[in-house]
Subunit: 462 residues, 2 copies
């Protein structure tokens, strides 16, 4: 298997150029204006699976954007690995903060990526990490080193809630049957501190609308006498946390997993430098739920954040208006054993209950996802740990992170499969932000590490 | 003077068409993209003053948009009336709520305007009301009925705070010297309930910016652990009112005029139907400072309203982001004897003081204006009351309203003149809102009433 290093050295430029072509297409699933680009990206991904040597490839229709599928079955008695990824990306705004255009990829050096990083929307999340798998599969098939069966499914709606995927899994249980699911859509602690994500938070995402008067009003004539929906929305949102920064939605914490003091002590051993953390974000203090450390706040505790707010006059200068409506997008990150649908219901009930007389409130659920925890004793985790040891010369750290990949819980429900999360990005790669990037070193290290997972997983299963 | 009715009957169509041409130009002073239109409007207004018979007209340069000036001096021993108005308009957004384009005026009938109303941005505020004066002057000069001297100044920055006007007044004290200032930039209670505005609230307007992390972050990875500037801004804004809806800015109420119970009882006699008010706005309850009626809340009490708020992802769908920055535009309406500069300082001090650790706060003052109260015993008020009695057959009601015309206080400071506010619009005319309109009846009634003010003011001064 040392041939992988040689193979990467030989094909490095091509690997980068292929990814760059993929990153040029603005496959923004959240905005219907880009639907053609999303579909074009699906076609490019299918072609890349063909080129990698898959026997069968297919663009599978769904109610939304299609799922790209490919497989290489070498022996039905051998284990089957199902790779999941997504070819859609987050919207790039605010555009003005990008130092280079989000869909014109360029390689630039950074402090953490001295060998250069590809700057583009989707470079890390998830086109870059998804494409590591395509190139690892190409290596294994081309060199006759594929030790087991592989199936690949790359979806196009991950950034908007994977709405069509539950149906797709239900309708293709047989086709998607596998022994383990492998995903690279998370990060690792640092290039010299490999880690495997063992816990993911769930998600409940809602949009709220507060309506006051039936039209925009002159604030001089009406100000002080009518419910201003922005003032009211601010008051309502402010009341969603108490003075200890605990969420006030009734019954919100009822099912939250109690993490034992022993476990918390174990987690606290992971390297974490609060000063570095604050410095990197240029904040003079952190902020969060009383009684928990920063690492706990973003991993084992649920949260409620406003992701967007708007209302009234937001142009240049001053306009003395009282808006008729105000809006916010609010997401809650959930931990085991909170159920996103239940939490969404609790939120709606609570938000309607706290609305003062004089305004009307509408809450629209966007999408949700169940929290997930991986067992460190599983063969999948062990195979992944051995793969990292081989290529990083270090034992990876098990890590619970705050992000959500709702599909991980769905896979277990519908397909009965466990998922291994081998992420090669860094927290500082600015996914979902302007100037998203993915280290060239990380990209190639992923391609190098993945085939070892196939090897060890097959060996451990034999 | 009955000739005014005949004159209007003869020239009605022309009066309407001329105003419509003026309304077609988007003279939006808040948006630099429209600067040519603002300047073009100034030229049209100057031409209209020439056509009306002014001896001298001039487009006077300022640091910002010019002031259009015109005059007709018939005898220096006679009184001089200075007419003030503005030719700039508010931005028209939200555009999608207009039933006809804001700069394509159309006349449509409404419940309150059975004779039709002109729908266009600026129709009432202030092009329509300003143009009543131009036409009234045309009538008086043409028919040799002008009883005194008249000066007219129409500015182009009223909707953005009249920034250049203080300098302009200082530099042209002699030219602008007068015995009374006459403005139509307010409303009246109803077409059968004429009223004269005797009190105006002042204004302090600020823009606030809250910065958390130095870049947009993924809410899964960072949510719950870092200060989310939108959540923080919401909490800060919510804290600006207490549970009685009193403003919590320290020292905010210290100089507020105490209105006596007798005066409050007098004001309470003005016709006001709370059910109608709520019905017109489609709200099931009003909202405001405890201990005051709705009419008091918008007239004799100061207020704090958010006029606009924005931050994070506001596009379609869901984006799980923690924004780096959140913004709001906040205005405070002031009453005698609050000073706008002082209030702005108090606000900045307070807002900075309540910012939690972890965020940075920036407050930018936009513009302000002093509150103003007119004396009912003045000759100006009496002349105006007599004019309304003549054309409406009713004694007008003195009314304090919530809007601000900062220049009114400025006039008194710099020119030493009192102002009479003869407004002919209705509260329901939707100024500053989509579908602004101005009743054709109101427009013509204004033209009819104004010459009587000249007549009675001259007589009372002789």
């Amino acid at each position: 298997m040392d041939t992988i290093k040689n193979y990467i050295a030989t094909h490095k430029e091509r690997f980068l150029n292929e990814l760059i072509e993929l990153l040029k297409i603005p496959s923004i699933s959240a905005d219907p204006a880009y639907s053609k680009d999303v579909l074009k990206t699906a076609e490019m991904v299918e072609q890349s699976l063909k080129d990698a040597g898959c026997d069968t490839t297919e663009i599978c229709k769904t109610k939304g954007y299609p799922v790209v599928y490919g497989e290489k079955i070498i022996d039905s008695s051998l284990p089957t690995i199902l790779v999941y990824g997504h070819y859609d990306v987050q919207p790039p705004d605010p555009m003005n903060l990008w130092t280079s255009p989000p869909f014109e990829p360029v390689i630039k050096k950074t402090e953490l990526h001295p060998e250069g990083a590809i700057f583009a929307r989707g470079s890390c999340d998830d086109k870059g990490q998804m494409y590591m798998h395509v190139k690892a599969i190409e290596f294994m098939i081309t060199n006759d080193l594929l030790p087991c069966n592989v199936k690949v499914m790359i979806e196009g709606e991950e950034e908007v809630g994977s709405d069509s995927l539950a149906d797709f899994l239900e309708n293709h249980k047989e086709k998607l049957s596998n022994d383990i699911i492998l995903i690279s859509d998370t990060g690792m602690i640092a290039n010299d501190v490999p880690s495997i994500t063992t816990g993911l938070r769930g998600l409940s995402y809602v949009e709220v609308e507060v309506t006051g008067p039936n039209r925009d009003l002159h604030s001089g004539i009406y100000g002080g006498a009518v419910p201003n929906p922005i003032n009211v929305l601010n008051k309502m949102i402010a009341s969603l946390h108490d003075e200890d920064n605990r969420i006030t939605v009734a019954e919100f914490y009822d099912k939250v997993e109690e993490v034992s003091n022993e476990e918390r002590a174990e987690m606290a051993k992971a390297p974490f430098d609060l000063d570095e953390y604050k410095k990197a974000l240029d904040i003079d203090d952190v902020y969060g739920e009383k009684g928990f450390t920063t690492s706990e706040r973003y991993s084992i505790r649920p949260t409620l954040d406003v992701n967007g707010i708007w209302g009234g006059y937001t142009g240049e200068g001053a306009k003395t208006v009282i808006a008729s409506k105000a809006y916010a997008k609010i997401s809650m990150r959930l931990v085991p054993h909170q159920d996103p649908d239940e939490i969404t219901e609790l939120f709606i009930k609570h938000f309607e209950a706290i609305a003062p007389k004089g305004v009307k409130v509408k809450v629209t659920p966007h999408h949700g996802g169940l929290p997930y925890v991986t067992n460190m004793n599983s063969l999948g985790y062990q195979a992944a740990a051995k793969a990292y040891e081989k290529t990083f010369n270090k034992t990876p750290i098990p890590e619970r992170t705050g992000g959500s990949i709702p599909i991980v819980a769905l896979f277990e429900q519908v397909l009965g499969s466990k998922t291994i999360l081998m992420g090669f990005g860094l927290d500082s790669d600015a996914i979902h932000s302007p100037n998203e990037h993915f280290g060239v070193w990380n990209y190639l290290k992923g391609i190098e590490t993945i085939p070892y997972f196939y090897k060890y997983f097959t060996e451990l299963n034999s």
